[in-house]
Amino acid sequence: MFGAIALTALVILGAPLFAIIATSALIGFHGEEIDLSVIAIEIYRIADTPVLLAIPLFTFAGYVLGESNASKRLVRVTNAMLGWMPGGLAVVSLFACAFFTALTGASGATIIALGAILYPAMKQAGYAERFNLGLITSSGSLGLLFPPSIALILYGVIAQQMDLDQPVAIDDLFVAGLLPGLLMLALLIAWSMYKSVGDRIPTTKFELRELLGALRESIWEIPLPILLVGGIYGGYFAVSEAAAVAVFYVLVVDVLILREVSFKQLPIIMRESMVLVGGVLIILSVSLASTNYLIDAEIPTKLFEFIREHIDSKLTFLMLLNIFLLLLGMMLDVFSALVIIVPLTLPIAVGYGIHPIHFGIIFLANMQIGYFTPPVGMNLFIASYRFNKPITELYHATIPFMLILFVAVLIITYWPALTMTLLDFE
């Protein structure tokens, strides 16, 4: 108790977050009489996690793009293509973030890497600061439901081990996630359009000549997403290698072909981007330790046992589940949450007649919001760091997005047909 008060005081006094998380882990382990070198064992697990490679590589690529005039060109192309439509650039940003998160997981790489190009672009196009921040931060976990999301694969593997009557094929999960994921996108798009009308972001008439000109100018940037998708689905490289390809491509284009970034600048960009990565990774690494303490002390399990006592119908189960998963999404990373909580909750869900595939989508949709739920959603801190904004401003900025996505989660939860319909067509 005393420890909790002291830590809160330190948070308020502006102590570095990594030190506070590490302290909470150390206090917890000390209380359980566990050798404190466990914190180093947990930090070392960073070197066992393949998905993290995307963070430094994509961040660097994003920084190089940020130094070039790519964001200017991006604004021009989207204006030429979608300028007639309110919120055109916001829509493009949403799709880009969802695509990118499906590739990299919700580890924050989206915010750091795409933020470097989308944030200035939205600013140039006249979007309000707060809307801009909210969109990028909340989109950092958008895409968990789209293939080839590793979270979906992991859910499938866990569910299959559980001897359920209904099969849970990973391919089916990929299909099932499409409409719920698109619903989330659609609601956010509607909100973006509404906001951009309200904020009087100017719309322009569509002109073919301007579009062709803009396309010609961006001739080198447009192939990048195509290269990544084509390379992965063509079997040239793995999802985990996409980041390296992006770095290579961006370097060739911006340093050798367009020459907007000079060789001399590269070490400085590397240093700047890796300082950012360091600030994020040191927090991720000590979070591994604090998560491990929670797991060791079986706190998520106990929390769920407590909730289970209040379940008496499918409806209360689903409602408590929504709240529980939101809390969990703030505390744990999506992988630990899946492994610990799915085995506890899935049998109950199946008992209430919820299809395991539907349950998986509910689970991940909830976790996705947890990533930027105040006060401690991890992506809030990452965005605060990336854009050099106080954390409270990010709370304000993300709340509308959180509420919208929460509506989407409710629809996904209580309307199973949305998840299951596409499966019937297979």
Binding site: V38, D48, Q161, M162, I170, A238, V239, S336, V339, P347
Partner: protein, 310 residues
């Protein structure tokens, strides 16, 4: 005394159900003096992490694959020698004498073990048939990281396999980044890799085993009569798991066949060619690990042409 055990196997599996049942039985029979706490699903990290946490006392034991213990007890890698057993029954028969020998060896090196659970044989599974070594040379093969034997097999045939994290294998198979994998039928089904392979080369490569180990220092702190109860109950649990795993393996093989996966028999001439590989691999492993002569002889008893220990 609460014994904290970590495992990669997820909650709800036969393995976890049996372990929990065994734990309840022990708790009852020791009147609550010995309890178990389980951390399933790999939440404590991979096998190396688990061993580290046993070392510092955060965990007291773990269900781990044998290779992980090779550092302290090199003999445990013997079951993994290539083409050691021709089928599951053959393995069962040899294991009758060698399981106790290995358990003793493990205990000498600081861990108490309660028996082995088989994971079946690994096979080459591929999109295009692999009928001979030349076929294999032309495939894009994936092997699990840290697979000594997989590496040596490919070293022998002179091609480099493709290294990918586990999470990339399914999409890798789907996109054609890889088209040949080494895995067991159970593993292929569990990770859904089976949906992207069409052929299995019907030559068992190596025999997979896992076991439950508990730190000997912790185990010794349990009263002697209670220790006996733990040994008996967990020993039974492991026999049950081992037996069920054999049934599951046979079922998994059938499931693959039912899915339309074709099992390719090697010709006798080819078999002789492949036997040269196991000679090569075993000789390399003998050099790497300091095998105990008695255990080595007992494990290779059905393999008349096994290389000799010096």
């Amino acid at each position: 005394r609460t014994i904290k055990i970590a495992t990669l196997s997820p909650e709800g599996t036969f393995w976890m159900k049996q372990m929990r049942a065994g734990a309840r039985k022990i708790e009852k029979q020791t009147q609550g003096r010995v309890k178990f706490k389980f951390y399933p699903g790999g939440v404590m990290g991979n096998d190396e992490s688990v061993l580290r946490k046993i070392r510092i006392g955060q965990l007291h034991g773990g269900a781990i694959t044998l290779g992980t213990l090779s550092q302290s007890s090199p003999n445990v890698t013997l079951y993994g020698l290539p083409y050691l057993f021709s089928n599951l029954d053959d393995a069962a028969e040899v294991r009758k004498t060698t399981d106790p020998m290995l358990m003793q060896d493990i205990e000498k090196n600081g861990f108490v073990s309660f028996g082995f659970a088989q994971g079946g044989f690994t096979y080459l599974m591929s999109k295009e048939p692999v009928r001979n070594l030349n076929d294999l040379r032309q495939r894009k093969s994936w092997i699990p990281e840290k697979s000594d034997i997989g590496l040596l097999v490919y070293e022998y045939i002179g091609v480099s396999p493709i290294a990918l994290p586990l999470s990339d294998v399914l999409t890798g198979l789907q996109t054609g980044l890889i088209n040949t994998i080494i895995t067991s039928p159970i593993g292929a089904l569990a990770l859904q890799w089976h949906t992207h392979v069409r052929y299995v080369t019907d030559q068992p490569l190596n025999y997979l085993t896992a076991m439950l180990v508990i730190d000997k220092k912790i185990f010794k702190k349990i009263d002697k009569p209670d220790r006996k109860i733990v040994r008996e109950v967990m020993g039974d649990v492991y026999k049950k798991i081992d037996k069920q795993n054999k049934i599951d393996n046979i079922a998994a093989r059938k499931a693959l066949i039912n899915q339309g996966v074709k099992f390719i028999k090697l010709s006798d001439a080819e078999k002789t060619e492949w036997e040269k590989i196991d000679d090569y691999v075993i000789k390399k492993l003998i050099k790497k690990y300091d095998y105990d002569k008695d255990i080595y002889t007992a494990v290779t008893v059905h393999k008349a042409d096994a290389p000799k220990l010096n």
